[in-house]
């Protein structure tokens, strides 16, 4: 079986990640921040260690300004719902995932905020021009995806974030696509808040994600409940990060995330080279086929490619490839804004998303199958 849906989740995890999950489940097995017995203290210490690893990985100034959530969707909702106030304006791009679009649309529908979308064409403008065109006096946040989950295009721009800071706009990065492939430093890259997910190219397990925060005190909790501290209070305590982490954390998966981050850090350069080679090979072959449309072909990308094949709907292509034991994803990909920008709402798009576990042989097998269509 050939797995080319790594943008949805990485199927093959490093052995150290699986080992860490099993190790925690077998040998610790208790929740952090709850019991004050030795095993509970061990669990809490492990949570702290992973928080530091995540903060270090993303170049946070204060390493433990990391709030764990169950995925990046929850982290994104935590940020928008907890940070924005009535009357705020938010600027996003046409490549944002539904996990960014939907909370903002929902808040706009309730009359709380409004948002604007930087068009695909305008993303090519100099940063100052983009902000001059789209910013309003009440623009509070610029939210951008690191890369498009539909086409793989790298959307994040350091220039744009630097320019936003000159306007005193809070910058937010959705790193769900590309966090494990592109080196990011929140401090250096002027990122105030960053949402991440553990199970995609960070190579961790589902059920992990988080919000990295430049500052601690600006967000209202998304969930009210048990936080393990100050249990005498009737609402979540203002303590950070625990006040924003109500409920039991998925600690076995968080411990595994620590191993995943170590793995990704240690292997980033070799993985980047390998994926670059695979993507270049795939693009070269696809570009030679006249019947294939490659979206955002001209842009720098992560190892994701979105295509359509003349004469075939995206679901037909997905079914054909599945019949030949190749997993790709078709349809809307929870990226309606990108489809509207690319005019592919009615057709959908076939997405091929690679990981370091893929091989050149798999690429050539895929090409062979496409040629036979």
């Amino acid at each position: 079986m050939i797995y080319f849906d790594n943008a949805a989740t990485t199927k093959y995890k490093p052995e150290t990640v699986i080992k860490a999950f099993v190790d925690y489940t077998r040998n610790v097995g208790v929740s952090p921040g709850r019991g004050s017995y030795s095993l509970g203290i061990d669990a809490s210490r492990k949570l702290y260690q992973v928080r530091k690893s995540v903060g270090k990985y993303f170049g946070l100034g204060d390493l433990t300004n990391v709030v764990f959530t169950k995925n990046s969707t929850e982290a994104i909702n935590l940020f928008f719902c907890g940070y924005l106030n009535k009357g705020d304006h938010v600027l996003i791009t046409c490549y944002e995932h539904n996990s960014v679009l939907r909370p903002l649309q929902s808040m706009q529908d309730k009359g709380m905020i409004d948002y604007s979308i930087i068009s695909r064409e305008d993303l090519l403008l100099p940063a100052k021009q983009i902000l001059d065109k789209y910013c309003k006096t009440n623009t509070k946040v610029l939210a951008v995806t690191l890369a498009s989950n539909l086409t793989g295009r790298i959307v994040f721009s350091r220039d744009l974030f630097a320019e936003a800071k000159k306007h005193d706009i809070t910058t937010f990065l959705d790193s769900s696509q590309g966090a494990g492939k592109i080196h990011i430093s929140m401090e250096a890259d002027k990122i105030d808040y960053l949402a991440f997910t553990g199970h995609k190219d960070l190579m961790g397990l589902p059920g992990t994600g988080g919000l990295c925060c430049k500052e601690k005190d600006k967000i209202v909790p998304l969930l009210q409940g048990g936080t393990g501290i100050l249990g005498n209070e009737y609402v979540n305590p203002k303590a950070f990060p625990e006040g924003l982490e109500a409920g039991t954390l998925n600690m076995p998966a968080i411990w595994a995330l620590g191993s995943a981050i170590n793995y990704v850090s240690e292997h980033m350069e070799e993985n980047q080279l390998k994926e670059r080679h695979l993507v270049d090979t795939l693009l070269k072959e696809l570009n030679e086929m006249g019947s294939v449309t490659i979206y955002d072909n001209e842009f720098e990308r992560v190892s994701t490619i979105g295509i359509n094949i003349e004469g075939h709907t995206s679901d037909e292509v997905v079914k054909y490839l599945d019949d030949n034991d190749v997993c790709v994803r078709g349809g809307i990909h929870c990226a309606i804004l990108a489809h509207e920008a690319l005019n592919t709402v009615s057709t959908g798009v076939v997405r091929i998303s690679l990981s370091p576990s893929n091989t050149e042989e798999e690429i050539f097998r895929f090409i062979e199958l496409i040629k036979k269509m």
């Binding site: 921040g33 019991g35 393990g228 501290i229 100050l230 303590a239 950070f240 990060p241």
Partner: protein, 69 residues
């Protein structure tokens, strides 16, 4: 006379950040259950008999509960 003290925090994260900091400065400490007081703190705290710990943690939010000699 060595007086043991408990350094108590509101955030569990701060307990371990504090532990890190004390270990960096080679100040002996351990993490123990927080003694019951009139105020609710995080369930674990730092126990140490080294007064230098207080200065080492000075920009953090904590309280000190001193035990009898």
């Amino acid at each position: 006379m060595v007086i043991e003290m408990n350094i108590v925090f509101f955030s569990t994260n701060d307990v371990f950040a504090g532990e890190d900091r004390l270990k960096d400065k080679q100040i002996n400490c351990k993490i123990v259950p927080t003694p019951v007081t009139d105020k609710a703190y995080c369930g674990v705290c730092i126990e140490t008999d080294n007064e230098d710990a207080i200065e080492a943690l000075e920009d953090m939010e904590f309280n000190v509960i001193r035990k009898g000699a």
